[in-house]
């Protein structure tokens, strides 16, 4: 056995590094995939061997997903999971089953591609510069007009005042739509000075095709059991907590949150409360979330669910539902309006939701065109709250350090499934 074969033999028993492009309706499923032993979901495509396209994407996504595909170091394979044919880029296999099935498929393909039974995929795009190279020499030294114009084939950075009014260069970059620190599908054009975002613009995207109508969408038109609604709400919030914990670098607690999200039952608030205690011990508030992402007062937050309730306003559609009032429902609120307040708010709402689900019995609520979903008030025929959250990003992110920018976006809980910004990029 040659060295290569020996290495492959050792490597294929290890974790499979997977980069996931999350499409419509599959965010929750990806949380469950993370719990499977032997699958490791990585943050950068450079580290991955398997590209998993989970859920439906629009045809506009072909370009960006191809980029992600080509960035992978290889040997690479692509798997589609619940992604309709024809898929946005050529895939090795399509799986429509549950988490176990996709995990088995991923493992099998990883084995095969390492041992050579399956040929690794070739790049999809030609390897050319995004902008034509016009410098002289390997690094473009010595070209003319180097104190102005467009050396390097790209315009020189523009100057703009930094926080203390010193005029410095700005680096314009586009981050997303599959950057793991942002909600899937969100791309931002950011002008960076060092690690500070001086200007932010949401890039026009419409990449994610909405999955089948969820429980809360159905509750707009038909009365739905409170127990189901509240369980879904609790699961949503706990999975959101897992994402936040992962970005904050406490993967251990993120895994725990994912585990809890997979096995919650009505009335059982204990595991969630213990998780919140563990989060407190991890100093998350002190280290990362305190005073981050405070929204300016002039922004109208009404109807934005936990985001507005975290500023101390008891704005909740459930108060007006007789069924909820009968259960003695009273909205939880937190004060401060920073990322930590939103975290505590969602944690408390998850506990409250589990408690309500335990006591609700078979009572039904909503069905009259309005519903209080985990991310805020949904109205029949009106855009989801996520659209409003995306539209305020450009104001609230200006002047944030990179880490705060990511924390703020995460704390707003934006789901790009129902958001479409501007015209789709050509």
């Amino acid at each position: 056995m040659g060295l290569r074969a020996r290495l492959a033999h050792l490597a294929k028993t290890g974790d499979v590094p997977v980069f996931v492009v999350v499409g419509g309706g599959y965010r929750s499923a990806v949380h469950r995939l993370r719990l499977v032993e032997g699958i490791s979901i990585v943050a950068s495509p450079r580290h991955a061997s398997v590209l998993l396209i989970a859920g439906a994407l629009t045809n506009d996504a072909t370009g960006t997903v191809s980029h992600v595909h080509d960035q992978m170091a290889g040997p690479r394979v692509t798997v589609a999971w619940g992604h309709p044919e024809p898929s946005v880029i050529p895939v090795q296999t399509t799986v429509n089953g549950d988490v176990t099935e996709v995990a088995t498929t991923i493992r099998r393909l990883f084995h095969d591609v390492l041992s050579g039974a399956v040929a690794p995929e070739q790049p999809l795009l030609p390897d050319v510069d995004a902008v034509e190279w016009r410098g002289v020499g390997p690094y473009g030294h010595g070209g003319a007009g180097m104190t102005g114009g467009t050396p390097y084939g790209r315009p020189l950075a523009l100057r703009a005042p930094a926080r203390d009014n010193l005029e410095l260069d700005q680096l314009p970059v586009t981050v997303g739509p599959w950057f793991t620190g942002f909600p899937p599908g969100l791309a931002l054009r950011i002008s960076l000075q060092g690690d500070v975002a001086q200007a932010v613009e949401v890039a026009p995207t419409n990449l994610i095709q909405a999955g089948p109508a969820g429980l809360f969408t159905r509750a707009l038109s038909e009365p739905t059991p409170i127990r189901d609604l509240e369980m879904a709400r609790a699961r949503h919030h706990i999975e959101w907590m897992a994402d936040t914990l992962e970005i904050a670098g406490v993967d251990r607690l993120a895994v725990r949150a994912d585990r809890i999200a997979g096995m919650i039952s009505p009335g059982e608030v204990d595991p969630v409360e213990r998780l919140v205690k563990a989060v407190r011990r991890s100093l998350l508030r002190l280290m990362t979330l305190r005073n981050v992402g405070v929204l300016p007062g002039e922004i109208d937050l009404a109807g934005l669910g936990p985001v507005v309730r975290a500023t101390g306003v008891a704005d909740d559609r459930r108060r007006e539902e007789q069924a909820y009032r009968d259960l003695g429902f009273e909205p939880v609120t937190h004060s401060g309006g920073d990322a930590w307040a939103r975290f505590s708010q969602r944690a408390a709402e998850a506990v409250q939701a589990l408690d309500l689900a335990g006591r609700a019995g078979d009572t039904r609520a909503f069905g009259n065109g309005e519903v209080e979903a985990p991310d805020g008030l949904h109205r029949m025929g009106e855009p989801d709250p996520a659209n409003r959250l995306v539209s305020i990003l450009e104001t609230v992110l200006i002047g944030s350090e990179w880490g705060d920018l990511v924390t703020t976006i995460q704390s707003l809980d934006i789901d790009m499934e129902t958001v479409s910004v501007g015209t789709p990029a050509p």
Binding site: Y139, H141, T147, L156, D169
Partner: protein, 188 residues
Amino acid sequence: MNPGPLSYFLVSAFGIGAVVSGWLVFRTDSMLRAAYWLMVSFVAVGAMLIVLDAQFLGLILILMMSGEMTIMAIFMILFMMNPAGLNPMTMVHQHRTSIIAGVGSFIVLAFVGVVAEFPDRPVPAGNATVALGEELLGRSMLVFESAGVALLAVMIGAIAIAAKQGRFGDAFDGSEEPSIDVETGDRS
């Protein structure tokens, strides 16, 4: 003390390293490389100091320069016109005069160094670091303390100069855009 062949070899090697990396500081177009070539030059001189029995000073020099050169690199990225890294940048003036001055000062100094006779009183065997410590905190305490006070004064002064709100009011009052158009002015 008679330096052995190993010392000769090390001093020559580090010496060549220090000169070459010093030269490369002004030959590269990357700001990062310029700053770190300068650091390499300092590290080579630090290594020569270590060979010359000044262990402590050599190491302190290396220690200081790693931080200082990163600050240099960051300032270059801040103040030079293109932060994107490896972009073209040849920015020199009075080139010929500078070359003459540089070569001239090298020739004069090297000539003096080679021709002049210096007393031969080498460092005695023993711990030079201990001697330095006793000097610093004994006879020359005043010098040492003055250096400390000077550094403190500089820290305060530097912040005062660089801060937006200066001693004479806001830095923006009375400022004007530069009058010379560097894009077209060919003066090198």
